[in-house]
Every structure is written in structure tokens, then in C-alpha cells.
């Protein structure tokens, strides 16, 4: 029986209980259907992160003192009276607006009620952010030819498993939330301070691929030629183990 999509979603988000996480990891190694499900979930997750990241959300500078010194919420009755008064004044302005330029009416409206949300289009827009998730445990994408995966630092613990599979996507699945940023075939895994194990699946037919940990290239593939510092654990599977005190595989 296959785990549900919800279970795989929890797995990707690092929210499954550790025993379940382990069982799912084992299952995903052998089940092609579930590998497809995980890859599809990962793809949608990456797209959703990219889309939501496009929504401008620059945070204004606020301090505890600012917030606590602000007047408490006005009682609802006074808010209502204010609203009624505003509507009455609005009617007067509306009548005047019939014979005046709409710009004047608009400014009057703004003065009375504050700017409407639509006026935000005049804000200087931020450049589109690089898709990044600091709460994600997985990423999957279709490579455009060359793949470069770079881990920010040499981990003190954990493992990196590399598997070459008949797949169309590159996927990285971590055992703990990690931040990823991807651009033009290059994925940076911000693993500084993160203790996690990673499973990287590379399509067998990817022409050029390299995996770098810190400043060392630990795996590279050029056509069918492989060069790696990782231990071979099976046909097309390689493993790098890290432990405190041993900074090389």
C-alpha cells in the first residue's frame, strides 16, 4: 500500500515523526510510483514558493515601544459613528464630484478615508526574489543540461547519498528543514548550522553534473564518466558520511 500524498507532503516538510520519516525514505527508494508522487509534490512546492515569494511583503520598521505606545483600538461604537460621518461627508463630496474633476474627489476620498489598497501600485516595487524556502526539506526540478549542487559548508554529521536514476528531475530530499536557492541549474543548499542527511537523485542522462561540499567537489559526472570521493553502495548509488572529528569521507 502506498503512503498518501498528505504523508509525502509531511515527509517533504520534515513534519513526519522520525520512525515514519525513516519508513517513507525506505519506501521511496524502491517505489517508482511514490518517487513520481514525491517529485510532483516537490515541483509544485517549488512553484508555490516561487509564486508566493513574488508577493511584495517588505516589513516596516517597528519596535515594541512603537506598538505599545500606539492608542488602543477605538471602541466599535465610535468607529461606527466615524464611518457613518464619513459616509455622510462622502455623499456631499460625491454631489460636488459630479461637477468637479474626479482627481479632486479622489484626493478628498483619500483625505477622508485614507488611501485605498489599489494605490499601492505607486510603491516602488522590489525586484523579484530568488525562490528560497527556509522551511523546506526537499526540492525537485527538471535540469536544463548542467546541474551544479553546492552545499554551503562541510557538515559535521549526517550523510549525502547520491543516486543516479532513470528520472527526468533532479531531487534533493533532506531529513531536516534546509534552505535552497536555485538559479539556472545551480542549487545552493544553505546547510550552515543544519544537521541533516540528504538524498540527491540525478537523472542518469544528465550530461554534466557536479556536487560541491564547501570548497571541495565530491562528485562529478561528464557524460558517462564519474569521479567521486563517495563510497559506492550499490549500482549507481554513492554515499558520503560525515561525523564530528572526521572532516573528510
Amino acid at each position: 500500500m502506498h503512503p498518501t500524498e498528505g504523508m509525502w507532503q509531511e515527509f517533504l516538510d520534515g513534519e513526519s515523526d522520525p520512525p515514519v520519516q525513516r519508513e517513507l525514505a525506505i519506501h521511496s527508494d524502491t517505489c517508482a510510483d511514490c518517487q513520481r508522487t514525491v517529485a510532483a509534490l516537490g515541483r509544485r512546492q517549488v512553484l508555490a514558493a516561487e509564486l508566493l515569494g513574488r508577493l511584495d511583503a517588505r516589513v516596516p520598521e517597528r519596535s515594541v515601544a512603537d506598538v505599545l505606545s500606539r492608542p488602543h483600538a477605538r471602541p466599535r461604537s465610535s468607529r461606527r459613528s466615524l464611518l457613518v460621518a464619513a459616509i455622510i461627508v462622502l455623499s456631499v463630496v460625491t454631489a460636488a464630484g459630479a461637477v468637479m474633476r474626479t482627481g479632486v474627489v479622489h484626493r478628498a476620498m483619500n483625505w477622508l478615508l485614507g488611501p485605498a489598497p489599489q494605490v499601492e501600485s505607486q510603491y516602488p516595487p522590489a525586484p523579484p526574489p530568488i525562490p528560497e524556502r527556509d522551511s523546506s526539506t526537499g526540492i525537485a526540478f527538471v535540469p536544463a543540461g548542467t546541474v551544479e549542487i553546492a552545499f554551503e559548508e562541510w557538515p559535521h554529521r549526517g550523510e549525502i547519498e547520491i543516486a543516479l536514476r532513470e528520472a527526468t528531475e533532479v531531487s534533493i530530499i533532506a531529513s531536516a528543514p534546509s534552505a535552497y536557492s536555485a538559479r539556472e541549474g545551480r542549487v545552493l543548499v544553505a546547510n550552515r548550522g543544519v544537521t541533516a542527511s540528504y538524498r540527491i537523485t540525478l537523472p542518469q542522462n544528465v550530461p554534466l553534473a557536479s556536487i560541491r561540499v564547501g570548497d571541495r567537489v565530491v562528485f562529478s559526472k561528464r557524460g558517462d564518466a564519474l569521479s567521486t570521493q563517495a563510497r559506492r553502495t550499490g549500482p549507481d548509488s554513492y554515499l558520503l558520511s560525515f561525523s564530528t572529528g572526521a572532516d573528510s569521507p
Binding site: E5, W8, Q9, L47, V67, M109, L113, Q118, V119, S135
Partner: protein
């Protein structure tokens, strides 16, 4: 960082008295105000509303005088209620404003560069795709995007923690479908 720091063996901070409410409040504010603001801004698309409601939620927490069991979920839950009330009471005001701000008025101001126009269009497309989702799914996606845990999301939205994964998977698929549908339709 979302979780409180746990004392390690030999850690001298373990013997210090627990922080006062004001210290805990200040720490929570630094950690959570930006997340709460971004959540509200992304849900509503209204920066003034997001700022006002995020501040109001913290004011209410301070007035409470003690930390709830799950402060992050409590803040989101309070913020959602304030937004709901705000929309109810100001429904008419918003409708009037929407009628009054004509497209020609909106377009006034300094002319936008091509890059700015593109950014606006990209943001508007995402917002349109989000608006096809039920409000709960929209909140769910944005809370998760902001880094809230499943437990916090469940608590804030009043759903079972065990349902969060399934609902998230569906909401993510729905957003992806809606966005692709829109971009294909506009091709």
C-alpha cells in the same frame, strides 16, 4: 528562529530565572512581528491593514499579560479575527472606495519602468491565482510559506495537525493549476 532555546548541560543560562513577561514579549515581537506582517500582507494585499492588524494583535497579547500556550498560533488566530471583523464592519466603505478609485486615477503618479510594470503584473497574476482558492487554503499556504509549523498552522486555523499535510498538498496543487491555467489562458 522559531523555537525557544533549550538549556544544554552545563549551560549557565539554565540556572537563570525565567524571563519576565515583558522580556518574553519583546523576544516574541522581534521574532514574530515580521512573519505576522508578511502573512497578513500576502493574504490581504493591503500593507496598511497588515501593519495595523499585526500591531493590534501584539497590543492584545500585551494587554493579556501572560503568554498563551502557543503564542505564534494565538497571534495568527487573533489577527485573523481582527481582519474578519474589519472586513465585516468596513465592507461598505471598501465597496465605495472600489467604486471611486477609477483606473485612470490609479494610473497617476510617476510613470513605471518596464521592469516595474512586469513586477506588478507578476504579482497580480499570483494574487489572481490565490484568489481562486478558498480563504482557508490561501492562509494555509501563506502560513507554511512563512515558516509556521504544522502544529502552529493547525492551532491558528482550527484544523487537526494530522490534516495539514493533506490540505497543503491539495492547496499547493490547486495554486499550481490555477496559475498555470491563467498563464496558458493569456498565451
Amino acid at each position: 528562529m522559531r523555537t525557544l532555546r533549550l538549556p544544554l548541560p552545563g549551560d549557565t543560562t539554565a540556572t537563570r530565572p525565567s524571563p519576565t513577561f515583558d522580556e518574553a514579549f519583546a523576544a516574541l515581537f522581534r521574532e514574530r512581528f515580521p512573519m505576522l506582517y508578511r502573512y497578513l500582507k500576502r493574504v490581504s494585499g493591503d500593507s496598511a491593514l497588515a501593519d495595523d492588524v499585526a500591531q493590534e494583535s501584539f497590543v492584545r497579547l500585551h494587554a493579556r499579560g501572560e503568554m498563551p500556550a502557543d503564542p505564534a498560533a494565538w497571534l495568527v488566530s487573533v489577527a485573523n479575527n481582527i481582519v474578519r471583523d474589519e472586513y465585516r464592519t468596513n465592507k461598505r466603505r471598501r465597496r465605495l472606495l472600489a467604486l471611486w478609485v477609477s483606473p485612470s486615477e490609479e494610473g497617476r503618479g510617476p510613470p513605471l519602468s518596464d521592469a516595474q510594470v512586469l513586477t506588478h503584473e507578476r504579482e497580480a497574476a499570483v494574487r489572481r491565482a490565490l484568489e481562486t482558492l478558498p480563504p482557508r487554503d490561501r492562509r494555509l499556504l501563506i502560513l507554511r510559506h512563512e515558516g509556521f509549523s504544522y502544529r502552529e498552522i493547525a492551532e491558528a486555523l482550527g484544523i487537526a495537525t494530522s490534516s495539514v499535510g493533506t490540505l497543503l498538498a491539495r492547496a499547493t496543487a490547486a495554486l499550481s493549476r490555477a496559475y498555470k491555467g491563467m498563464t496558458h489562458a493569456s498565451d
